[in-house]
Symmetry: C2
Subunit: 404 residues, 2 copies
């Protein structure tokens, strides 16, 4: 670190970057100093916008002395390769979910971080959401007695979001892409140490080459069970059970699922669809004409309420918890009451702040590479359990760190 | 059968009888001809009300030539013994859930029915509810493509309903008492043939000697998964997600859970509670001062809407299903639409009609003893999986019969 501002290089100027870069550019403690991509016009735009260095390869970018840390936002299958390239050059790394697509990759990433004395953070998930963190705080306080059970369900439109088939395939549909959100929520609430997983995941729409749903039972070491249900087929919308509020805290369009499916259908099929989609995607990427825009995505202004990643109900000895529109409902001996939770900073901003504090002030990082590896292990166990039709015992779990 | 009216003997004039007998007395095709109980005043009342025979033992009642069939509504641990006593005297039997408390008992009951050429029916569960039957019909029709996944959750007040501790203990809390409802629903929707179960159930309130909650993953032979969550601790009420509608189709009192807990608390603890409870129970039993009344029970007139045994969401290839207040919501390619379902006859009446038709017209009985045994096997597998902390493979499953 040569300055108190963290000098960040961006690996991949795709759709994620299209959304993220404007948010990151606003943060006073981060300076965007470099980017790597294959799209010349995106690099040119980045160079102009941030007076920054641009590269055709992540490896080259990692040679730069003007980069302290790298944000890896490439396609999933390159997360491990580029993270390791950066870590080996002693750059700190924040990597989008899923941190990798195999446990071996995740282990190599963690080893590289440890060998080189730099930080590895597995990126944004909805366990950063203030209501989920508050639930964890209440569980941990013991005010409601022992934790007994967790249930979380989410029915949304993931499979018809405009991801190319290749991405759907690489992320095993919803399992590696959406699983990390739901599993991180459950692991945070349950303390982290999952003992075993029994699950089914399958491809429900054969026109998309990835698993569109899963049902998962997992059990923590201390025998607390959690049931997880996820469907990405855009039929029923869990928003109907959560005051129409979506995962950005936005008021969802009740027609959102139908629209997502119609949009997807309008793309045709096969190579037609691939071409249509590629031209849309190019608009939405960093450097495109509508960076960060996203058909079938959030339908209203974000942060009107607290974010809802589906419906989560926590059962404790002396009471239950679930989210209210702007906080939590606590059900206990005296009945139902609501606590309001300040919106605070955005989950994405919280993530970057934690990354910054971890690097500059050496504070512990909550979602570090070991945490991410443990969550990835659960995702992969869902796939393994589905394939083998039996329970899978885990061996890479870590507890929730003692970080507020 | 010596007449077209089915001559029914009642084994056990307890709380169930207090609720059931007035309903059964209204049915023109059933004649209440006998009862057995230990409470002299209840027998006297029954004798007067129905000009019927009364007995101090079920075995004696089963000797009567004026009894064609026996309704077994005794404490759970006597279901097998009295059912077998009746079956061996060639009486048809309808037995309340849980049909037995072990698989060996259930097998002996089925063997007795088959050896004696009489019908055995495992009694009322919420899979008889019209919306659940309609869901099954839609799944089976193939209109929504293959079934992919089932999720069902229910948070209610079972543990604080006025059951004596002994009953809670014998039914393993909610598992054998409430499990049959939820499991029957899931087995009906999924086709019946459960391959394996992974679950946790535990005693969350040590002041009650039975399991108050469970989380269960089960997988059908055809690899369709189902997640089941049940909590009986009277905190969060699933009614909040189902328009405040309860399992009798009644509009629930939002304070019902708090009231159930307060009532229970008012009973004191230990032998005080047992005494208090016994005097209340005596009021609610057949022959008591308020037969069929039930503190903390249904809080409004029944059948205002369709019954809701919690929240069930069915995921198919081409759409999802869940209950609407008076029917079903179907979510498919075109969006969300509602179909209205006639209330039809009560689930309990449907059960007795099926029993009658099975006996008098030899029509197949849907919830026969084999079906009940298969559901019991799942309940027991929940307990076994929880105790052993591993998956349990099943061997007594039967498919949904081809009965409308």
């Amino acid at each position: 670190m040569t300055s108190q501002r963290l000098r960040l290089g961006f690996a991949g100027l795709g759709m994620a970057a299209g959304r993220l870069i404007p948010e990151i550019a606003r943060l006073p403690y981060i300076q965007l100093t470099a980017a790597a991509d294959l799209r010349a016009h995106a690099l040119e735009r980045f160079r102009e916008e941030f007076k920054a260095e641009v590269y055709n390869s992540v490896e080259e970018m990692c040679e730069s002395p003007n980069v302290d840390a790298v944000y890896v936002a490439t396609p999933h299958e390159f997360h491990a390769r580029y993270s390791i390239a950066a870590l080996q050059k002693r750059k700190h790394v924040i990597v989008e979910k899923p941190m990798a697509i195999s446990i071996d990759e995740a282990r190599a990433m963690n080893a590289a971080a440890e060998e080189n004395g730099v930080k590895l953070m597995s990126g944004h998930t909805h366990s950063f959401d203030p209501p989920i963190r508050k639930m964890r705080e209440i569980i941990k306080s013991g005010a409601l007695g022992r934790l007994l059970m967790i249930s979380t369900t989410y029915y949304k439109d993931h499979i018809y979001r405009p991801f190319p088939d290749h991405d759907i395939k690489m992320s095993r549909g919803v399992v590696l892409n959406q699983g990390p959100h739901q599993i991180d929520i459950v692991r945070l609430l349950g303390g982290g140490m999952v003992k075993s997983v029994r699950a089914m995941a399958a491809i429900g729409d054969p026109s998309r080459p990835g698993e569109g749903h899963y049902a998962c039972y997992l059990e923590f070491e201390d025998s607390v069970p959690a049931n997880l249900v996820y469907s990405g087929y855009a039929y029923f919308d869990t928003g109907e059970l959560t005051w129409g509020i979506g995962e950005g805290g936005e008021q969802k369009d009740p027609e959102r699922h139908v629209k997502a499916r119609k949009f997807f259908k309008s793309l045709g099929s096969g190579s037609d669809r691939a071409k249509q989609l590629e031209s849309r995607l190019e608009e939405w990427r960093y450097g495109g004409s509508k960076p960060g825009a996203w058909a079938g995505g959030d339908s209203g202004p974000r942060k009107q309420h607290q974010p809802f990643f589906g419906l989560t109900v926590v059962t404790c000895e002396k009471g239950d918890l679930r989210q209210s529109p702007d906080g939590l409902f606590i059900y206990d001996e005296d009945g139902k009451r609501e606590i309001h939770i300040p919106k605070g900073i955005d989950a994405r901003e919280a993530e970057l702040q934690e990354f910054y504090e971890g690097i500059v002030n050496d504070r512990p990082i909550f979602h570090d590479g070991r945490w991410g590896q443990a969550t990835l292990e659960v995702c992969l166990a869902i796939l393994q359990s589905a394939a083998e039709r039996q329970e899978v015992t885990l061996s890479h779990q870590v507890p929730v760190p003692n970080v507020s």
